[in-house]
């Protein structure tokens, strides 16, 4: 099943670095997933996230307020 990955962040450097890492992990491991960047503050607030960047996989908030490592993202996606 295709996983739905959302990256929440208002466009700060940390959010961009998280996006880069997630994209990299998805493409190198051929993971079936869609990546969506959520930059709208209203949307971010709907998910009750107070610290960005945040990583949401299939509607579950997995990481808040920090940039994860590639291994960590891979583990979360499997």
């Amino acid at each position: 099943m295709t996983k739905v990955i959302k990256i929440l962040g208002t466009g700060c450097p940390k959010c961009q670095s998280m996006t880069g890492i997630v994209k990299d992990v998805v493409s190198t491991n051929n993971i079936d997933a869609t990546i969506e960047k959520v930059e709208d503050i209203m949307e971010i607030m709907k998910l009750d996230v107070m610290t960005t960047p945040a990583l949401v996989i299939d509607d579950v908030i997995t990481i808040k307020g920090r940039v994860p490592s590639k291994d960590e993202v891979l583990a979360l996606l499997n």
Binding site: G9, T10, G11, C12, K14, C15, I41, M42, I44, M45, D48, V49, M50, T51, T52, I61, K64, G65, R66, V67, S69, E72
Partner: protein, 325 residues
């Protein structure tokens, strides 16, 4: 405590590199190695410690605590104290602000947190201990916490809700002291450690270049500016020194870690500590990019009042320090 670092620096410069003690530049090199070693170790320790605290006490817990407990006036102080142990990236300030407001936390209390958190952060504390010693660090931290507390109380009494942007007013109207279903991360210390470690390394990597450049510039100035040079311009009797220093500091937001080592030399050369602390608070605590981000939730008028109140409090504490110290 750091005699050994001085010994290593001396050993490296005089014995390994075999340089002569008489030269000006050689002394500066030894000073540079000593200072860098000491400051990097202190930064590492403080950032690591804060990382552990933060891992067990994340922002969501802070919010739930402040939203749940009626503290009879102490909530400003608590919010300010929480600000010390929970650092946040400036790009999180908007979601944080909304999260607090939505949790029914009064605007003034939210401001207390938003002011202290960047002002008293782990990098500033590490640098302060390394450059100015423990006593000055404690003075800085205590005054930072009080500054956040008092500014928060002032904001609450100014009744500024009307200056929020319309959609935030709506959030405010629907605010409730709700407890978000907060998933407690049930990780063991062993599982947390690699994550904390990675953050520490990332933060250090980001600031090391600035720290090195700052210490190098400071070291050179140390050698070339005569003792007491600034006293005639910036002595304690000069009433304009504190406001000028504070206002000069506002645009210097991005490289506090490079500016602090330079300020330390300026203090050694005769700038009063209160003036210097006001300057450093301005550098660390007032950031223009953060103000721009806040436009999403506040009117320009409110942001201006916010900056004005904090600047004023910084200037007042600068004067106080010059009188007390």
């Amino acid at each position: 405590m750091f005699d050994w670092a001085q010994n290593i620096a001396d050993w490296f410069v005089y014995d390994v590199l075999n340089l002569s003690k008489e030269q000006h530049l050689v002394g500066a090199l030894s000073f540079f190695i000593y200072d860098t070693t000491k400051i990097l170790i202190l930064l590492f320790v403080v950032i690591f410690f804060m990382g552990i605290v933060n891992s067990y006490f994340p922002i969501d817990k802070v919010k739930n605590y402040l939203s749940r407990n009626k503290l009879f006036g102490l909530e400003y102080l608590m919010a300010s104290l929480f600000g010390v142990v929970t650092p946040f990236c400036s790009c999180s300030s908007v979601p944080l602000f909304i999260g607090f407001v939505r949790g029914g936390i009064p605007l003034g209390v939210t401001f207390s947190f938003l002011i202290t958190s960047p002002l008293v952060n782990e990098i500033a504390i590490g640098l302060f201990v390394g450059l100015f010693g423990l006593k000055t660090t404690i003075i800085y931290v205590v005054s930072g916490v009080l500054l956040g507390t008092i500014s928060g109380i002032i904001f609450q009494n100014l009744k500024l809700e009307g200056y929020l942007t319309p959609w935030v007013k709506e959030v405010l109207a629907n605010a409730q002291r709700d407890q978000d279903i907060f998933q407690v991360e049930k990780y063991s210390f062993k599982q947390r450690l690699p994550i904390i470690w990675a953050e520490v390394v990332k933060i250090l990597k980001g600031i090391i270049p600035y720290v090195l450049v700052g210490i190098a510039i400071g070291g050179l100035m140390h050698g070339y500016i005569p003792e007491g040079f600034f006293e005639k311009y910036m002595d304690e009797d000069n009433l304009f020194a504190v406001p000028i220093a504070t206002i000069l500091a506002i645009p210097m937001y991005s490289n506090a870690s490079g500016i602090l080592p330079v300020v330390q030399v300026l203090v050694a050369k005769g700038i009063p500590l209160g003036t210097a602390i006001a300057f450093m608070m301005g550098v660390i605590g007032l950031s223009l990019p953060e103000a721009m981000l806040l436009k999403k939730v506040m009117s320009v008028k409110l942001i201006t009042i916010f900056f004005a109140v904090v600047t004023l409090c910084i200037i007042i504490s600068g004067y106080l320090f010059n009188i007390i110290l």
